[in-house]
């Protein structure tokens, strides 16, 4: 690890002040991606701003028809929250299968969403549930937030303060995890909310994406039979030692049908 200045601010305003004007300063939430990267010397930040003591970023609350989850909420807290389990059980289920117990007790929702790893689970939930990402400077709709491989709409000195998920009428997430890392080879989140039916896929491409053809079919008939003939193109999907693009394209269909069946239970 290279040397860096470590900061542990108590408020969002202090954290932003520490990040502002320093091009090589990095915010850190759970550190589940940043710390291994630092240990490998694959990044050399001047400053690390640890958000662990920022109390205003923690916690889960109900606001009308939405479950609002603070950016620093750990995966294990989402998985066991009574509010999440009763209003969006699929989200609690998803959180309970991220990584391993160590990751779930350190990693945070805000960190995962801001990092936008192409195989992370949360981006699929944010897009499928049509959640709203709130930051210290404003709000982002789910569709415009995830812009590409590790790229989001977040600007410099902008951190995720909370994410607001609309309650789901029906929802489920199914993933085919890599057996070593538990990252999604392909993960499909299917949700029926007040704003309609959405199908969001993670792990398969460079960034989370929606399958509009499945959404339209499911809007008419929310059953796995309705999407059994819909094929996803392998063009632009990931191809690596774990699986080819064609294999991933096939898995999208399989996981989507399983998710619909699970949502209907």
């Amino acid at each position: 690890m290279y040397d860096f200045a470590y900061h542990r601010p108590k408020s969002v305003a202090d954290a932003i002040a520490l990040l502002k004007g320093k091009e090589e300063a990095r915010p850190m939430s759970g550190g589940m991606t940043l710390i291994p990267t630092l240990k490998q010397r694959l990044a050399r930040p001047s400053d690390v701003v640890d958000l662990g003591d920022v109390k205003e970023l923690a916690g889960i609350k109900l606001e009308g028809a939405n479950v609002v989850i603070g950016g620093m909420t750990k995966h294990a807290e989402v998985a066991t929250s009574a509010d999440v389990k009763s209003h969006i059980p699929a989200l609690a289920e998803l959180a309970g299968h991220i990584g391993d117990p160590q990751v779930r007790n350190r990693g945070t929702m805000g960190g995962s969403v801001a990092n936008n790893d192409p195989a992370a689970d949360y981006p699929a939930a944010v897009v499928a549930l049509n959640a709203t990402v709130t930051t210290n400077t404003g709000k982002h709709a789910a569709d415009g937030f995830f812009k590409g491989l590790f790229e989001t709409a977040l600007g410099e000195g902008e951190i995720v303060t909370s994410i607001s998920f609309p309650k789901a009428e029906k929802a489920a997430y199914m993933k085919f995890p890599n057996p070593a890392s538990r990252y999604a080879m392909v993960g499909v989140f299917v949700a029926k909310t007040a704003s309609g039916v959405r199908v969001a896929v993670t792990g398969a491409g460079p960034c989370v994406f929606r399958v509009k053809a499945m959404e339209e079919a499911l809007a008419k008939n929310f059953s796995s039979a309705a999407i059994k003939d819909i094929k996803v193109s392998a063009t632009d999907l990931n191809s690596d030692i774990h699986g080819s693009a064609e294999y991933r394209a096939h898995l999208v269909g399989v996981m989507a049908r399983r998710a619909v069946d699970a949502a209907n239970k």
């Binding site: 490998q40 694959l42 990044a43 936008n116 491989l149």
Partner: protein
């Protein structure tokens, strides 16, 4: 790994080819390029700083142009050392074909990455290479195809 892509550029083949050989244009379009110096008409040294997600690495290396066939295309090859992060090298065969007043630019990239960055980031390399190639050629197409600024009357 190989990556292919295609762009339509609103400019003649001659103009596109000239831009592909223009140091200032290349420097502006290579993602994260901090400097690009001409050693000869076909050799350049480059400093590139890339930030992909959590990883940030500075590469220094050289860029070579070969198989030059104006205005049909050429091959651009880059090779960089990123210190502890590892190394990256890649070549792109660029072919230009005329389509009316426009030019169709096709590229075919072959890239290799080694060292630590390849060990820990194996699952991300193809996506990253595709993204960088798209950034380069996307910016290039935008810059070269842009209408000339209107002169003040």
């Amino acid at each position: 790994m190989e990556i292919k892509g295609e762009y339509r550029i609103a400019a003649s083949r001659e103009k596109v080819f000239a831009a592909l050989n223009d140091q200032a244009v290349l420097q502006a379009c290579i993602p994260g390029c901090e400097s690009l110096e001409m050693l000869s008409p076909t050799e350049m040294t480059a400093k590139v700083r890339l930030r992909i997600g959590p990883v940030s690495a500075a590469f220094s290396g050289k860029v070579t142009l070969s198989d030059i066939d104006p205005p049909n295309g050429y091959k651009i090859t880059g090779e960089g050392q990123g210190g502890v992060a590892g190394f990256a090298k890649g070549g792109a065969v660029v072919a230009l074909t005329a389509d009316g007043d426009d030019t169709i630019l096709k590229y075919d990239v072959d890239a290799q990455v080694g060292g630590k960055i390849a060990q820990v980031g194996a699952r991300l390399i193809a996506g990253t290479a595709k993204k960088l190639a798209d950034q380069f050629f996307g910016k290039f197409a935008e810059r070269v195809g842009a209408p000339p600024p209107v002169a003040a009357a």
